[in-house]
């Protein structure tokens, strides 16, 4: 066994090691770049979706705003919800007072090809705002879901999809509440509701009952039966449209069952055929 060679190996490699080790350690001192550790920590505790729901251009920008004290509201991140807000508060050494109820989006319209009337056949770019610029969409109802999926395109987490009727539906489990779909929806059919909401009124039309009846068989006709069936509260018909009062936690089944056009429906994952 050639021990001298082993020695050479030992010397050269360890020599290299010591030179590089010292060199790097030294260099890291010279070239040290000051980093805002707090900001980095804040950034790490944000979900990193860069969805912009907080109003900043992505998570790092929000983190920067918090770290620099420009923004004191720690609850702006709706995807992260309470957990993130708590983490942020902990990092900033503040106590979080407001508790957030997670909000999710849902489409308040069930008027599909069979159930509602159309003014014309839309053939252009598949985009709701494009259709809305032409006589406010191809449907007679000007408050309805146009079904061209602009919300699907902007959803950062694929929570929205077409259902069997060519309308969209939000999966509330996947929804992070970034409100992008609400922003993009031209008719206002997409609205935010609390995650805990068990029912929604799947109609957005403020036309009079008679008018709605003419163009849609599943629209709210403002008959006020829901109000009567749920006398302690829970429903409120305003401006010819029934609204659910989500602060009321009682049962809504009887009202939903009694709705003559069946537009009060459960907010649950919806069958997706497409």
């Amino acid at each position: 066994m050639n021990l001298i060679k082993v020695l050479y190996a030992f010397l050269s490699v360890s020599g290299l090691g010591i030179i590089l080790g010292l060199g790097l350690a030294y260099a890291s001192k010279i070239f040290a770049v000051k980093k805002n550790e707090k900001q980095e920590a804040l950034e790490n505790s944000l979900p990193g979706l860069n969805c912009g729901a907080c109003g900043y251009a992505g998570c790092p920008a929000y983190a920067e705003a918090i770290a620099s004290g420009q923004d004191e509201d720690l609850t702006k991140c709706s995807p992260g919800g309470e957990a993130t807000a708590e983490k942020l508060a902990e990092l900033m050494g503040v106590k979080l007072e407001v508790t957030m109820e997670k909000m999710v989006a849902q489409v308040h319209c069930r008027g599909g090809k069979e159930t509602s009337k159309y003014m014309f056949e839309y053939t252009g770019v598949r985009d709701c705002n494009a259709a809305y610029a032409m006589f406010q969409g191809d449907k007679v109802c000007k408050f309805s879901c146009l079904g061209l999926g602009s919300c699907i395109k902007v959803c950062p987490v694929d929570a929205i999809d077409y259902d069997s009727e060519g309308l969209v539906w939000v999966d509330k489990e996947m929804c992070i509440g970034c409100e992008k779909c609400v922003e993009v929806c031209p008719t206002g059919a997409m609205q935010m509701i609390p995650y805990s909401a068990d029912y929604i009124v799947a109609c957005n039309s403020t036309d009079k009952g008679g008018a709605v009846r003419k163009y849609c068989s599943v629209g709210c006709i403002a008959c006020k039966i829901c109000e009567k069936k749920s006398p302690e509260g829970g429903f409120k018909v305003e401006n010819f449209l029934s609204k659910i009062d989500y602060s009321f936690k009682g049962e809504r089944v009887s009202a939903a069952d009694a709705c003559p056009t069946k537009c009060i429906i459960k907010n649950e994952p919806h069958p997706k055929k497409k």
Binding site: G17, G21, S28, E268, P269, P271, K272
Partner: protein, 217 residues
């Protein structure tokens, strides 16, 4: 505990799911026997490096983390290289420079950095085994496809009268040679990855459907 081992096989298969360690994967996947040899080499190095990195995780300072890992890995690689040259010369010749390049195989450094650095020795060893075997399986799949289509053969170890080469009847006479070349390697892994992604998408869809039907009932 056991999931540290099994996850490497399929759920986090280094080749198809996390797409690491591709350079050797593609270059040596011309013959099945190379894939096996390479796989063995990688498993050995991965085991060694994960073991030592995890063992020394409190000893190595953050600043020289990467150089230290590299030294550890490079030592094992050199051992593999020397042993292969000595005892498996044909394989060593076929694998060429890629044995030495195991050093920079992203999966090894990747595991050291992502796993062994903050797990116990036994966990790290299991992880190394799982990842190594997962890597070998992936490599085997690619090389099988490439060799069968690209050369019409399956090359294994010779023993006895058997020269180690299985010849596939029809393809052997007119193999799709491009599959055996660089193009084929890239295409095969592209399509395999596409296939696995498709499986993942389908699985996700199934899950959603399941949930939907559960709610309905």
């Amino acid at each position: 505990m056991i999931e540290h081992f099994t996850k490497g096989l399929f759920k986090e298969n280094p080749i198809f799911i996390i797409v690491l360690g591709l350079c050797p994967t593609l270059a040596v996947s011309t013959q099945v026997v190379n894939a096996l040899g390479m796989g063995a080499g990688v498993i050995f190095v991965l085991l060694g490096s994960n073991f030592f990195v995890s063992l020394l995780r409190n000893f190595i300072p953050e600043k020289i983390r990467i150089p230290s890992y590299i030294v550890i890995i490079a030592s094992f690689v050199t051992m593999v290289d020397l042993f292969m040259q000595a005892y498996a010369p044909t394989l060593s010749k076929n694998l060429g420079v890629f044995v030495q390049l195991i050093v920079v195989n992203c999966i090894i450094l990747g595991r050291a950095e992502a796993f062994a650095k903050n797990h116990t020795v036994s966990e790290s060893v299991l992880d190394a085994l799982g990842m190594g075997i997962g890597f070998t399986l992936g490599l085997l799949l690619i090389s099988l496809i490439r060799e069968v289509l690209g050369a019409g053969t399956i090359t294994l170890f010779p023993f006895g009268n058997f020269d180690g080469v299985i010849r596939i009847p029809v393809i052997y006479n007119a193999p799709i040679r491009v599959i055996g070349l660089a193009t084929g390697a890239l295409l095969v892994i592209g399509y395999l990855k596409g296939f696995f992604d498709w499986m993942a998408i389908r699985k996700k869809k199934r899950e959603i459907e399941k949930r939907v039907s559960a709610v309905k009932v």
